[in-house]
Symmetry: C2
Amino acid sequence: MEARQEKNENAVGEAIAVLTQRFGDRVSTAQAMREQHGHTTTYHKNLPPDAVVFAHSTEEVAEIVRVCATRDVPIIPFGAGSSLEGQLNAPFGGISIDLSQMDKILSVNAEDLDCTVQAGVTRVELNEYLRDTGLFFPIDPGANASIGGMASTRASGTNAVRYGTMREVVMGVTVVMADGRIVRTARRAKKSSAGYDLTRLMVGSEGTLGIMTEITLKLFGIPEVIAAAVCSFDTLEGACDATIMTIQTGIPVARIELLDEVMVRGSNAYSHLDLAEKPTLFLEFHGSEASVKEQSERFAEIASEFGGSDFDWATRAEDRTKLWTARHDAFWAAKQMAPGKEGVASDVCVPISRLAECVMETKADIDASGLIGPIVGHVGDGNFHASLMVDPGDKEETAKAQGILDRMVERALAMDGTCTGEHGIGQGKIKFLDAEHGPGVDVMKAIKVALDPQNIFNPGKIFPV
Amino acid sequence: MEARQEKNENAVGEAIAVLTQRFGDRVSTAQAMREQHGHTTTYHKNLPPDAVVFAHSTEEVAEIVRVCATRDVPIIPFGAGSSLEGQLNAPFGGISIDLSQMDKILSVNAEDLDCTVQAGVTRVELNEYLRDTGLFFPIDPGANASIGGMASTRASGTNAVRYGTMREVVMGVTVVMADGRIVRTARRAKKSSAGYDLTRLMVGSEGTLGIMTEITLKLFGIPEVIAAAVCSFDTLEGACDATIMTIQTGIPVARIELLDEVMVRGSNAYSHLDLAEKPTLFLEFHGSEASVKEQSERFAEIASEFGGSDFDWATRAEDRTKLWTARHDAFWAAKQMAPGKEGVASDVCVPISRLAECVMETKADIDASGLIGPIVGHVGDGNFHASLMVDPGDKEETAKAQGILDRMVERALAMDGTCTGEHGIGQGKIKFLDAEHGPGVDVMKAIKVALDPQNIFNPGKIFPV
C-alpha cells in the first residue's frame, strides 16, 4: 500500500474547493469543527482533518470519495466522535466525512427481527425508535455511538455476553469502496454460504477498507421479564471467580459487569449511588418469569460460594436505568475522581478461565503505581478496561500509566487473549498488532492494498502508514 | 487473477514426482483414488485431480503448497468428500490434498468451552471424543463431514437455529496461504477488535484463499434436559407458518426441521419410521426442566393454531437418535425413492417472514413437474432444500429439474434471500453469484487475487476460472 509521509497541500486545497462548490456550507474548514472531528475522547493528540463534509446519502459519500480519490486525498469517516484509540485523527490530513446527518432508520422488519439504518443513527436513537415495536437493539458501548462507528470498531458493550457483538448482529452493510463503487455485502437471510463474508470483513475495519453508509442489524424481542441486581464481593478475585463459574455453567446472563472498589467509589460520587465500596458485579437476567427466577437462583448460589453479598435488586425500570446509566458513565466517573487529569484507557479480552488472573495481576500493577486507575469490565466475555488518570503534561506519570497498560496487553496476549476486545486498533494499539497476529498482519495488508491501493481510507490507523 | 484455461501436463508431472519423492506412498495417482477425490455426492460430473497427497501436519501442507506454487499447479483441499456443489472437482487438474489423516483433537479447553482440532476430524469423531466432558459440538450437516470442510463451506445443519453456523462457532483457524506461509487468524478470546476478521474471511472461502489445517471451535454444555418431538400438520403452509411464529415469538428451539409429505414417505421407508404421511416438523428443545416445559407448551399452542397434531415425544435417547439419524439420512432416503436416479439438490435461505411463500411456490413448481422432489429444511433459519430425482442420461428430465431449482434460487433472491444457505457456491451456484452480490463479486475477486495471485487454490470454484 502507498506509504504516506506528508500531505499534498495543493491536492487537499483542490479537493476542498471542489467539495465546497458541490456541497456549499456542508463543507467546513473552521478550526473548532476540524478539531472536534479529530476528537478521540482519550489522551491521543488531536490531529484535525483539513476539512469536514456532512454527507446526506450513500451517493454523496461515493461522490466525495471520488473527488478525494482523484486527488489522492485521505478520507476519515466520522460518526459520533466517541472512539477511544485515535480512530478519527488525521495524521496525514484529509477530509473527514461526517455521517451524523445520515440519521434515518430506513426500515424495520419486525417480522424478521431486523432493521436497516443509515450509519449516523445512534444506538440510543435506534432504541427510542423501536420503543413501540417490542424489539430492541442490544449493543451498547459506553457512549451513544453511531451504528456506523460501532460497526467500524466491532463494538460491543454490556449485553454482548448474551446477544453478541457487532460481529454477530450486523447482517449486511452498504459500503462505498475506494473507487466510489457502492456494494451491498449481504442480503437479509439469517445465514448464507454464498461467497466471501464481506460483511464481517468490513465490520471492524475502522474505515480503512470502505465507508459503511447503511447497516442491516439483527433485533431482539424485549424479554418478558428483566431483572437487574447488584452483588458486592469481599475480594476482586471472588467477583471474577463467580463470573467465570457463571459462564462455565452456562447461565445465560444478559449482563455481568465488574466494577472494582475504586470504580464503585467513583460511580457513587458521579452517579449518586450508595453502593458498598467493594468489588461489585452489576447483573441483569432476561427471560420468562420462571427462567429469570432460575437464572438468578443459580447465580446466587455461585455468588455465595465466592464471598458475594445478598443481591440488591433493581426491579423498577427507573432503578435499572439508573444502574446502567452509571455503568455507561464509568469513564466520566473515573475522570471526575482526578480533576484536571486525562484518562489513559485500554481494554483487553482473555479466555474466561484466565480472567481472574489477568484482572488480579493488572490490579496489583496499578496499586503499585500509586495512580488512580479503576478497573471495569464486561467480564462475562473475559473483557475488561483500565483507565489510568494522568496529567498529560507530566511525562513520568504518563509513561508510568502507559507501562501499566502495555503490560496489561502483554499479559492478555500471553494468555491467548487479544490486545483489544472492543475499542479497536486505531493509532493506540498499532504497536501490538504484530505481536497478536504475526504473519496475519501481512494478509491484512494485502487485503488493504487490494481494496484501497491508494491508501486513501483512514491512513495511519490499524497500520502505521 | 490468473484465468486458467488448460493444465500444464509437464508442471503437474513434475509436482507429482517431487511429492512422491518426499511423501512416498502417501501420494497416489490411482484412478479410483483420484475419482473418489473429485467426488461430489450429487449430480456434478466427476473431474478427478491428477494425484492425491495425504498430509499429516500443517507444515506438510505448507510444503505441498510450495511445491505446487513453484510450478503453478492447482491444489484442491479434501476432507470427507461430502460437499454437494462440486467443491472437490478439479476442472483444471492438480493435486488433491487429503486432510482426513489430520484427525487429531489437539486440545479441549473445557473451562473456556472451546477446542482445537485438525481439519480432518469429523463432527461425529469430535462429539464422541467430547462424550465424557459434558460438552458438545452442535454443527451437523447431514453427512459426517470434516471440520475443515465444514468451515470451508460455512456449513450449518439442524442445530444452527439455536447455536449458529460455522460462521459463529469457528473462533480461529490455522491456515496455509498460497505462498506456504502459515497464519493463525485469531486467539481464543471470545471477542476481539484487533484488525480485520481473517477468521470469517477464511470460513466459507471453499479452499480458494488458503487451506485451513487447524480449527478452534466453540463448544456448548450438554443441556440438562433434551426433549425431541414430532408434530404433523394438515398442510405444508401450516407447518411453515407455525415455524415462522415460533421464531418471531422468540422460542429458543434447538431444532425445528421440516419434512414435506414426500420426504416423510421416503424417511418412513428408508429409516423404518411410521410417521403419518403429512407435512411434519421434527423439534428439539434444550434447557432446564422448567425451560423445556415452557418452550414446548408455547410451541404446542402455536402448532394447534396452525393445524398441528399433538406431539409424538421422543424422550428416550435412542428414540431421539433414531429420529435425528432419519433426518440426517434424508438425502439417501430421497435417493431410495427413485432407484437408479441421481439427486439434483439445492438449498436456499430467505428471511423468516418469506419462508411459507418460498416453500409453497417451490412445492407447486415441483408438483407441476411430476418429478419426485422432496422438500426438507432447517426452517427455523428460513433455510430449505429440494432434491429432485432424475436420470442423469435423460436430458429433458435433468433440464426440468434444473429449471425448478433455478427458479427456487431466483425466488429466494427476489425475497432478499441467498442462493445457498449452507452448501456453498462450488461449481453449481457460480451462475448466481453475480445476481446475489453484484459489484460485491469484484471485491471478492480483488481479495482472491491479493491472497492467491497465481490462482492455485481450488480454481473454478466460487468464480468460473
